[in-house]
Symmetry: C2
Subunit: 382 residues, 2 copies
């Protein structure tokens, strides 16, 4: 029964049936009235999700393309950038800026920990000459399952004048993210995460300050040029042919999310994450992240001693149809990750923990395989 899978990775997430079918509509002219209506509706809907009144653009690329767009549209070669990293995606953000010629100063924190806003503030306070043009931050670090306190980081950046450029790819909709209220200048999100739509699009919002920076920015850009995106959006179009199905899917997703409500959506993710953590701990496993900064979107679990992560994932896939993620980068073989992002139900999480218990036992782990489920049931009110 290979077809039936429980996809619990931190994106792409399972996709609701109505969203799958919205992508199967007959093709339309991407410069015609039907697409314009969808694009306009999506752009307005994204503003609500981003909690911003500023411009939001839809780009045909995965999230990493959005990170590149964030960098190249507001910076120039030689600009000094403070790049805060707590994992693989923070490193990637720094890497992009560096490749395009920024002078990147890394501010790294240990894997599994969150960034310390006080250290960011201290570094900016020491920058009396205001040489730092931008601070790059990952809101939710998918590789470690750690969420940075973006509100606190935003406060730390405020007053200095540097642009706050945020990777919110895996955070948006899974946790609160208030672009305008907190003072984020550039916010990037991706389709295949909280939005529950297939990959192929990313979204980028820019504040007035970022918009002003765009006028000065000299990093080369063409495909990701937001000034082109802005010019075409005025006509209800994108400069280059967009991933039309995903735009219709976004339109449907925004309707579903509107029905659920932003706060309920975040609360649902928080509940699933708590269940994942309690379930893993009850099975005798250790979490990578401090629980105070653990992510609503993905839970990183340390490798059970004596068991290979690859063997555990293979067994879960082949015998139980449960798809979990491995580690990335330096943590490749040290953790596995349970994604609880997008269309994941409480029953999905119970099933995941039930299968995980059985698979662990089968691989020799000393545990009562039902304890994970029992702990999650308690979280869900059982």
């Amino acid at each position: 029964m290979q077809e039936k899978q429980l996809l619990l990775i931190p994106g792409p997430t399972p996709v609701p049936q109505s969203i799958l079918l919205a992508g199967a509509r007959p093709m339309v002219n991407h410069r015609g009235p039907e697409f314009k209506a969808a694009l306009d509706e999506c752009t307005q809907g994204l503003k609500r999700v981003f909690q911003t009144s500023h411009e939001v653009f839809i780009l045909t690329a995965s999230g990493t393309g959005g990170l590149e767009a964030a960098v190249v549209n507001v910076l120039s070669p030689g600009d000094l950038v403070l790049s805060v990293s707590i994992g693989v995606f923070g490193d990637r953000f720094a890497n992009i800026a560096s490749i395009y010629g920024a002078k990147v100063e890394k501010l790294d924190f240990e894997m599994g920990k969150a960034a310390d806003a006080r250290k960011i503030k201290a570094r900016l306070d020491a920058d009396g000459e205001k040489g730092i043009k931008a601070v790059l931050v990952t809101h939710n670090e998918t590789s470690t399952g750690v969420t940075n306190d973006l509100a606190a980081i935003a406060r730390a950046v405020q007053g200095h004048g540097a642009l706050l450029v945020v990777d919110a790819i895996s955070s948006l909709l899974a946790m609160d993210c208030q672009m305008d209220a907190w003072g984020v200048d550039v916010l990037v999100a991706g389709a295949q995460k909280g939005f529950m739509i297939p990959p192929g699009l990313c979204f980028i919002a820019i504040s007035d300050r970022a918009s002003a920076a765009m006028e000065q920015a000299r990093m080369p850009r063409f495909y990701f040029d937001l000034k082109q995106a802005r010019r075409y959006l005025q006509e209800g179009q994108t400069p280059w042919t967009p991933a039309v199905p995903q735009v219709f899917q976004l339109q449907e997703a925004l309707k579903l999310l509107e029905q659920e409500g932003l706060q309920s959506c975040v609360a649902r993710h928080a509940r699933l994450a708590a269940a994942a953590r309690e379930g893993a701990k009850a099975l005798g496993l250790q979490l990578l992240a401090d629980e105070s900064v653990a992510s609503n979107a993905v839970t990183a679990v340390r490798r059970p001693e004596g068991i290979e992560v690859a063997a555990l994932r293979r067994l879960l896939l082949q015998k139980y149809g449960v798809v979990l993620a491995g580690g990335q980068g330096a943590l490749r073989n040290d953790i596995f990750r349970i994604g609880h992002l997008g269309l994941v139900s409480e029953t999905d999480m119970l099933a995941c923990l039930a299968a995980l218990g059985m698979a662990l036992k089968e691989l020799g782990w000393q545990c009562d395989p039902g304890t994970g489920v029992a702990a999650a049931q308690k979280v869900f009110g059982g």
Copy 2:
């Protein structure tokens, strides 16, 4: 009856039902075995369509992203590039190279004409010091409906040593394009053209010489870095999360194209194009392109005197559900374009010409509205 449309623009093209549904499959892990199998199959299938034994990569972006990838992966800032242009997309290619720091020498030909391979050869012959690193060429210029003689251009470039970098976005599958036999170094194609799949992917193939150039190329690149694409493809993956539905759709499209056969597919496009031209002429309209270089993918028709292109297109859309394209750039109001690319049948073309005849007459054009259809019927053997 707004839902029923006859989409005849030069991409996105109508999508076969089986391809639409292939995109509606439940989501899978983009780093799992199901996706690996699809990606591997697609990569092999693309090689057959590209008529190449070299590397082909699938990128999540529209065709323009593929053009950017073609430029930034093989060139360095300051490189001298000869950019051949016969329209909007030739200009775009030059623009990308220029923005990323190449010294671009334009070789422009009049709109509606093809590039003269002898002039390209003359320019390269005059480059005794071999300063020109690459020649950028559009195989089929979508904005004018003109196809360049790529085989002749390739012969003109051979011997000089410059890389031949080709935009085949709207040509592949609609006309013959022999990457290896002709000696093309970089070939870019797009999903939403002859492949009949929704937009969201582009494809890029590189010769050994282009691969060697990649080692030296210093233009900044991250999202479009083909060395990363190569590294991940060895694992059956893409570096960044790909547009999973479009990859499954490509897999289905390649099956359909395999059944039809490459030569039959090209012949079908040629027949449709001949019918479009004969039909337009029979209605008293003038073609933009010389017929000797007219495109198999799209036919550009000059604006009928006394009729606004926008008014004609609006009437066709609103009353007949026929979607044609307008002009682009300088030709915006001077032409309209009939796309006959992808899933377009002979009956579709007859319907298009029938509706066009009626719409023209309604707008005051002196014609017998049935003559277009009659001329096309003759092309189709009626």
